[in-house]
């Protein structure tokens, strides 16, 4: 097939950015977050929800400023490349690709498991994993407008189902279905306020990430937006607000309907909460919401993983053959197709918790570098030196909070998944060595490391001269 290197289609509006961000993450309200309850009890769970919520709000503020100032498809990878340097950008780029491919694999695994449960058979599990990945990859191959408009519709329906169960329980009336003492007292009458003490709050943080994991991906649609300076801030911040609302409502409904022991080990907590209401239409709505949220998440993950890979290929971090844009649909179709076999391979492994653990570890590596990138971005290009569009409030507080909370989350994650976390760190050290020994030469040969023509950094007036590949590109 003939292809040419042209720009991606600029067709997206703020609601597409919202759909991309919320679509990837909303599945976390339908499953996974409830392990916070098992780790520390219901109160530790809401604290994890809000503390990790602060981490993600700061991440969103930081990403929104850099995303609207540097609207390129790779998102955090592009910003890091411009601000910090190619080695950090390579690590961020790989981390993003793996974060989203692993999430896509996990989503397809869950859809396979749900369909297997429904049918009662074991042979169709892999077929559903394969079908999910194949259909969504085709959708992304066919065009970003179609893929994200579909994502908007299914994400919106899934979001509404959370409110359906909330209002079905009649939370503010006397005839409420909710047991208002359940967050502090189990059905047996035991005190479960903090069943494992204060350390349970730290332990809960590792699963608190499920409430919001992947929201930063919303900024990766910037290059395909009609007006990135409006679509990225509006879509991303509205998306973060949507998730904060959904997370708190989900916690409220589930912890007041289901006993903490049951909730802590549930595979589908919102669906189990629906079953606790005993109302068939609510159960049907939440089942649909669970399936749709998985589909929306996998769809958004394909979009983000492919854009990051495409961006890295454009400047030679990986083979430039991957940087082709489809002549008709204007999508990075080779990068989209690359995600398919990888997601299927991880999906077929059946190791849901391992896949998710690697995704979270990759995300945390990325967040720590993004926080440093933001601090350097403001130092090198202070306000007024470039056109930065949205300006994040109270800098450097958000970047510092992001850094501190990311290390806190890493500590919590280490307590739960020490081997996975160390393995992930070793993997990224190997990635760094691969860049230094092999990939760096190709990037230097390419000669176009900087995507934006910013002025010489304020704190390092000599920085251009230190980068011979920039000279070659000029």
């Amino acid at each position: 097939m003939a292809e040419e290197k042209v720009e991606l289609h600029k067709v997206l509006r703020p609601f597409h950015v919202w759909a991309l961000g919320v679509g990837i993450v909303l599945v976390g309200e339908f499953m996974g977050w409830n392990f916070t309850v098992a780790k520390g009890g219901p109160i530790a769970s809401i604290l994890a929800c809000w503390i990790i919520g602060i981490l993600y709000i700061t991440l969103v503020l930081v990403c929104t400023e850099m995303g609207s100032a540097m609207p390129k498809a790779g998102g955090p990878y592009e910003w890091t490349k411009q601000v910090v340097g190619p080695l950090a950008a390579w690590i961020v780029g790989v981390a993003i690709v793996l974060e989203y491919i692993m999430l896509e694999a996990a989503d397809s695994l869950v859809i396979g498991a749900i369909m297997e449960d429904i049918s009662g058979g074991s042979s169709i599990f892999f077929c559903w994993v394969l079908l999910t990945v194949a259909v969504l990859s085709f959708l992304n191959y066919r065009g970003v407008y179609l893929a994200l408009t579909t994502n908007f519709i299914i994400t919106f329906i899934a979001f509404v189902t959370i409110f359906i169960i909330f209002f079905a329980t009649k939370p503010l009336t006397e005839g409420t279905l909710l047991d208002m003492s359940l967050p502090v007292r189990s059905e047996d009458g035991y005190d479960v306020t903090l069943p494992y003490g204060w350390i349970g709050i730290l332990a809960a943080l590792q699963y608190g990430l499920w409430y919001y994991l992947g929201i930063e991906g919303a900024t990766m649609a910037a290059e395909e937006c009609r007006v990135p300076a409006r679509a990225v801030p509006l879509g991303t911040i509205a998306g973060m607000l949507t998730l904060l609302v959904a997370a708190t409502v989900t916690w409220f409904v589930c912890t007041h309907l289901v006993d903490w022991m049951t909730l802590g080990s549930s595979a589908y907590p919102l669906y189990d909460a629906a079953r606790a209401t005993g109302l068939l239409p609510i159960m049907a709505a939440l089942f649909i919401g669970t399936v749709l949220s998985c589909l929306a998440s996998a769809n958004g993950c394909i979009n983000d993983a492919s854009r990051s890979w495409f961006s890295m290929a454009r400047v030679g971090f990986v083979n430039e053959w991957w940087a082709a844009v489809h002549p008709k649909y204007k999508t990075p179709y080779r990068a989209v197709l690359l995600t398919m076999p990888l997601a299927i391979a991880f999906g077929f492994s059946g190791l849901l918790d391992q896949v998710i653990a690697f995704s979270i570890a990759s995300a945390l590596v990325c967040y720590s570098i993004v926080a440093v990138t933001m601090i350097l971005f403001r130092r090198r290009w202070p306000i007024g030196s470039i056109n930065r569009e949205y300006i994040s409030p109270w800098h450097p507080l958000p970047a510092l909070l992001l850094l501190i909370l990311t290390f806190l989350a890493m500590t919590a994650f280490y307590f739960g998944y020490a081997i996975n976390f160390v393995a992930a760190l070793i993997f990224y050290i190997v990635c760094a060595m691969y860049y230094l020994l092999y990939s760096r030469k190709r990037v230097r040969r390419h000669g176009e490391i900087f995507a934006f023509d910013f002025p010489v950094p304020a704190d390092k007036p000599y920085i251009k001269d230190r980068r011979p590949w920039k000279k070659g590109g000029e």
């Binding site: 502090v184 306020t193 903090l194 300076a229 607000l241 609302v245 916690w251 949205y390 109270w394």
Partner: protein, 97 residues
Amino acid sequence: MTQKLTGEARRQKLRRMVLLDSLVVLVLGILLWSNLALVWVTTTPIIDSTKYPMLREFVIIAGLVEGIIITAGLVALYMHLSKNRERLYVDIVGEES
């Protein structure tokens, strides 16, 4: 398709677009604060503060910090949309002729 508007009609359309966008995030912001309040009102009174000193305050502070930071982000967003509306809505109202 881009509408061709000029003069006062264009300025009014721009103001409406900013208000519409702001309304969306304002509604979400109100929903968030309502949810925070719901959890504070229903959950904090049942926490035994003699057994768990400071836990009640911790729940309130965590929610407050979350709400305040995102609200600051919302205010910055409104200022950005309002200040740069001539450029940000060009795909809807078109270039000034």
